[in-house]
Symmetry: D2
Subunit: 252 residues, 4 copies
């Protein structure tokens, strides 16, 4: 979405979203992920995002040519969402270079759950992006930390997930430019569950919920947060900068 | 403006802006400020903001009862802009308390130029907000530092003011949550000229240009930045938090 | 402590610490605080800080003349620690002005537990500093969020307090410049338990543990964190800036 | 330097510094860099750092085996300084991986001047690290922005370099965790000349001055800032965190 305001009118054009999914967990019909997401997680994410009049949504997956992220697709993507887990190593470095370049040019990036360990997220952060984790069907409760942040529109002060994989601190990321959510886990841990960064002309939102064995992406509050995250990360007609050798602006 | 998005439609409602001006410099018809701003600076600010379809604008000045900032006016204000200089001390502490409370509840605050030394800005920052300054008709050039920031919509990588009062570092403010502009001054100084902070549910934008003896607020780029600043600071339907004694959320 | 380094030698001079305590809870000999802290909390804080060869420690309390914070005492204080609860309103505004001025000049400020609601902390923050709380003898576990931070010297990745008053988000503070600890509470809440800010030439560390009915300040890890916080907040021979009218640095 | 404090004594052990230099500009005896730095820039940097009793200094250069940065050398390095320009592409990715890993484990990294475009700096930042530049023998004046920062110890509010290459905004870096200096350039530009970041357990300081055709590293104030930067970036005995699968800390 490129929001542009003239002095006479205010209009919102459409945000073009590409929902990227590794799409491996859901391939085994006998296992939990396929039961919850029979057409893949990307189908559910694309469905609820596509319900918004200001978004047009396509999907892309690992096993498509160029992982579905051709130059053309990326050129027509305003915000890319990313879910991966088993096969981070199979994402080609060339595609990671391409996505990084587009983010720095202004494309929004919404990284979900185990995407914390993807090549693209580690590339954008510069750190290991490692964390502590466990799977014991424990409860998570997420608290809003910055109630002035647009990602919290329509979100209550806290909300719960009956079962979620625990992701716990220390989470090895750069200090977020904006810390939006902190998660409490029943098993005794905490996590910076919603984090924002500006990088180049692009914006990045990491949101922790979304383990493949729970129906997290059907949860209306989760859907609201991801929708808000896409809107927040969408490029606007902000300043285009140039680099390189530059003439003096003043006589010396 | 409370932007609210439903799943079916996206609409922008009106942002209610109150332009506050000390309105003292412009009282002497023989002096420069009155020549540039015969109806006061607030008239010019209100005029260009009011040209936006998404804004409704009123003004308020120091010498009105309660400085024009009654409980009613503030309750109906989404964003307050503030220009003051000669008479900071005449602003009553009770009104400062009232404005601070509203900002923390979500009202946006756009502080202009010498407003850096106003009671309300010092109150929100917790620091002296002092700086170095001089008036020698020197040039200023402002550079965009964060090209992902919505305040830079439609703004070039840098722009110039033929003459501006110098405001120079060290500017005694808390590190901005978002540093949007740095100013270069011909006389040899630099300044963090555009700074954003989140405070409570409110957002604050400080923008340095606007000395009373130059026609700064007629400049189209300056108008664009202030318009963007008002839009950025406008409250949204973000999380409403509560405080105080709280029952346990888990059995212990 | 003014650490100063010459090229030939490195020496650490003494940090002069003033431990300030409201000293009201401990006045009733039949109640828990007096049993835990028979000579007042300040006595315990002063004792463990004073064990450090690089610190000289004095105490000051609310009911002393000028709350024990005369111009002289403050002029000789490098770091001030603050504990208050029942009687925030009894602290005179004049003393708050005085302390704020000293912090902005470079004095460190370590605010403990219910000091979050003191006049001086609210003054420095510009926000309500409000939070959610309860007292049900629940466990707290604090996690290190920034393992590069000097306040974490000698501190494990997490540590527990058997019983602590719950302080929960949303905590109405400016985003910390450095977020050092997040607390997990058994009753289902989280809290930004260790936060750092730079203000003027001074540094501020807020540390949440220390409810008056538990022996928190006898805990060796807590003592370590507070000791580190005092060292981090201690002034150094950093830049002294000046403000006001300034001649041009360049010919124009 | 691993600073460690016991309760009985305070001692500073030695910081082991490795000064890395590309060492190509200085190879042509007829050109300016060789005249200014006949033994290479690293020799001058090592000389003034080595004058500090709390530092032991070695050097390493591009054309040594493994660029002089063997596993052994890095294991014994507390802070690495980096100057490169012509031959960034010749630095092997394997060595960049190795340095990044050490920084995330706690080694300090001080990146100088054209090192902004080195592989290691781009790796740590996640952005292009691009900027605007020109060489016209113009003056630079650097202003202290955070007078509470230890890197400003003994540094005046501003200081000048008679001639420096211009580096100008927009500088494509993540917002610094701590912005310490802003530079003013005679030709009309500004630059965030001194920036700090925390990454993993490590700290990174970028300092812009140091063009190879001017005797910048002989300037006492520049030497002071770099010395302070090394001390700030030096690892301390801060928290060692672990990652991976983690047992529950609470029964669920």
């Amino acid at each position: 979405m490129r929001r542009s305001y003239s002095t006479e009118e205010t209009h919102l054009s459409t945000t073009r979203v590409t929902v990227w999914n590794e799409f491996r967990h859901e391939m085994n019909p006998d296992e939990e992920p396929a039961k919850i997401y029979p057409h893949g997680m990307h189908a559910v994410l694309a469905e609820f995002l596509g319900r918004n009049a200001d978004m047009s949504v396509r999907t892309a997956t690992l096993d498509e040519p160029e992982h579905g992220l051709t130059e053309d697709v990326l050129a027509q993507t305003d915000v890319l969402t990313w879910w991966g887990h088993l096969a981070h190593a199979e994402v080609s470095d060339e595609i990671v270079d391409r996505v990084q370049k587009r983010v720095l040019e202004g494309m929004g990036l919404v990284v979900l759950h185990s995407g914390h360990y993807s090549k693209i997220f580690k590339r954008m952060m510069g750190t290991t992006c490692d964390l502590r984790w466990r799977e014991i069907n424990e409860k998570e409760r997420l608290f809003v930390i910055d109630p002035a942040h647009p990602i919290t529109e329509g979100v209550p002060p806290w909300f719960e997930l009956v079962h979620e994989e625990m992701y716990g601190e220390r989470f090895d990321i750069p200090q977020p430019d904006e810390l939006v959510f902190i998660g409490w886990f029943q098993g005794g841990d905490v996590f910076r569950s919603g984090c924002c960064w500006h990088r180049g002309r692009g914006k990045i939102f990491y949101f922790q919920p979304g383990h493949e064995t729970y129906p997290i992406y059907y949860d209306p509050t989760i859907q609201r947060v991801i929708t808000n995250g896409v809107r927040w990360a969408a490029p606007r007609d902000t300043t285009v900068v140039s680099f390189g050798n530059a003439p003096a602006l003043e006589k010396i």
